[in-house]
């Protein structure tokens, strides 16, 4: 990662990033750019370096922040009208850790509102364009962050991944994207979507940068009781030994784009040529993962998003005559259609008469998925699969068909249900120059080894 030192100033790095952000303005990557604030921080770091004072491991590194991370700089809106005017008085733990090491946020990135979506088309601000093909989607929900890194505007960007929202946009834009083990990085100060599957992670251009960011951001946090005791730094890395890599038989079929199947085959051949063993896996419960996900996650969404009521912060509808109409008007005007679908599905699967048939059934399916991963990792060290069945699709192609959009998540969501880590890795391009990506999946707490092993796929 290019950090500030005596040869290059933080101010230079930040100015370059701001210029590039301006140059790519029509991609709709940023929802907010803090030129003045970023330059002020850069000058502070340059002064420290000039005085010979100690600076952090990310000194002067410009980065982009997904719009659902709380920070007092700019409104945190999760790209939704519902959070209009919300300037957070608190800072997310992950943001604080990055900035304590000298990283400089230049702006906030566009996303599907409240992270509901797989294309960044559900944003209140409109869609972000794909870095390789402007007629295609950026992927989502962390589309702006992925494109900011892919176009080399910033060195890294933050993301959140509830069902694929880091891995899928990373693969749609040809960069690395990590969804860590559930509980590895604090969720404190990130707008909640589904608390039992939300994970914080990063987009980078190199594996070394990913490792550095993980060592900085991971760890137990008293403000998030679901964080795991520190393990990342202490865990074993990759030591050049021959590994067993699983491939999932159920994911190799005609519904997967031919380019992606070929990319997977190439990487399998590469691993074999390096002496690694390929293990075929049967994981029959995984095909139910998406149905279970679109029950459990909307249920948590309906619960988490009930706090947005127009009273304490964010958008409040004008002209409401009483408290009930204030709630109704604010929520009806403030949420996007996809937010409404998910909240209503959540309330449906939780409502009396349907709870057992949907929510409880899905929670049991989750158990089968967790067990299936446990069994798989008794036969192999890591699993290599596509991230999604298709590469980046055309803007507008799926936005009016929610089930078609959900099907794009079919290969990514089961990791979130099981809490296991997944690293999206670039896997070439189609003949038309559209990015292809795969994901390397590991057992819980294998994040460090996963990142280090991924160099075998380069």
């Amino acid at each position: 990662m290019k950090i500030a030192n005596k040869k290059v100033t933080a101010e230079r790095l930040v100015r370059d990033a701001l210029e590039k952000a301006k140059h790519f303005e029509d991609y709709h990557i940023f929802t907010f750019i803090d030129e003045e604030g970023a330059l002020k921080k850069a000058r502070e770091i340059d002064t420290k370096i000039a005085k010979g004072e100690k600076v952090g491991r990310l000194a002067g590194v410009p980065y982009a922040l997904k719009d659902n991370f709380l920070s007092p700089r700019g409104e945190t809106r999760a790209s939704a009208l519902m959070l209009e005017g919300f300037t957070s008085p608190v800072t997310a733990t992950s943001v604080k850790k990055l900035e304590d090491e000298g990283a400089i946020m230049i702006g906030r990135t566009n996303m599907d509102a409240f992270a509901h979506g797989s294309s960044t088309e559900n944003s209140y601000y409109g869609p972000t364009l794909n870095s390789h093909d402007r007629e295609r989607v950026a992927g989502g929900s962390s589309g702006g962050s992925a494109v900011a890194v892919a176009l080399d505007i910033v060195e890294f960007a933050t993301g959140s991944d509830t069902g694929g929202s880091i891995r899928q946009p990373a693969s749609f834009n040809g960069i690395y994207g990590l969804k860590p083990t559930y509980g590895c990085i604090s969720r404190y100060g990130v707008v909640a979507m589904a608390s039992s599957t939300d994970c914080i992670g990063f987009f980078t251009k190199t594996l070394e940068d990913m490792d550095l960011l993980m060592s900085i951001a991971s760890g137990r946090d008293d403000k998030d009781m679901t964080t795991l005791p520190d393990f990342y730094e202490k865990s074993e890395g990759y030591t050049d030994k021959k590994m067993r890599i699983g491939v999932i038989r159920e994911f190799d079929n005609d519904s997967v784009d031919q380019n992606i199947r070929e990319a997977l085959k190439k990487k399998i051949d590469l691993l074999k040529s390096k002496g690694h063993e390929i293990v075929e896996l049967d994981m029959p419960a995984l095909k139910y993962g998406l149905a279970a996900y679109y029950i459990l996650v909307p249920a948590e969404v309906a619960s988490n998003l009930s706090r947005h009521d127009g009273v304490r912060y964010g958008f409040r509808s004008e002209n409401s005559k009483d408290l009930d109409s204030l709630y109704e008007n604010s929520r009806s005007e403030g949420f996007m259609p996809e937010n409404k679908r998910r909240i209503m599905i959540g309330n449906f699967v939780l409502s009396s008469g349907f709870y057992d048939a949907y929510f409880l059934k899905a929670a049991k399916a989750r158990t089968l998925i967790v067990k299936e991963y446990e069994q798989a990792f008794s036969k192999c060290d890591f699993i290599l699969t596509p991230v999604s069945p298709n590469p980046a699709f055309k803007l507008g192609e799926k936005v009016n068909d929610p089930v078609a959009m959900y099907l794009e998540d079919v290969m990514s969501v089961s990791l979130n249900l099981a809490g296991v880590p997944g690293l999206a890795i670039p896997a070439g391009e189609t003949k038309d120059g559209i990015s292809l990506g795969l994901q390397l999946v590991g057992p819980r707490r294998s994040d460090k080894c996963l990142i280090e092993f991924a160099k075998e796929l380069q």
């Binding site: 209503m344 949907y358 059934k361 049991k364």
Partner: protein, 95 residues
């Protein structure tokens, strides 16, 4: 199952949404499609399987019952609301 118009109106009420006629139609269609998709779970045998609600492998994370310093004070929180008076958030009439 088939989602009827009154089901959509009931779900909208549970969700605190006011829907217009167009939204009742379009959300009705979308929810029907989604429910049809998620109903495929019927085919999965889950007899004698316990449910999983979280994957954190921990239970009951305790801390001492004491007030810790908070990042945001009352003033900062009240500043986020549209209208505040006498250290209270002001809303339209309740009844």
């Amino acid at each position: 199952m088939n989602i009827k118009r009154e089901d959509i109106i009931h779900l909208a009420a549970l969700s605190n949404f006011r829907l217009d006629e167009k939204e009742i139609d379009s959300l009705g269609r979308d929810l029907q499609d989604i429910i049809k998709y998620i109903s495929q779970l019927d085919k999965l045998d889950t007899d004698n399987i316990e449910p999983t609600y979280q994957v954190i492998e921990m239970e009951n994370v305790w801390r001492d019952d004491e007030i810790l310093p908070q990042e945001a004070d009352r003033e900062a929180l009240l500043a986020l609301t549209k209208e505040a008076k006498d250290n209270q958030i002001k809303v339209p009439k309740v009844l």
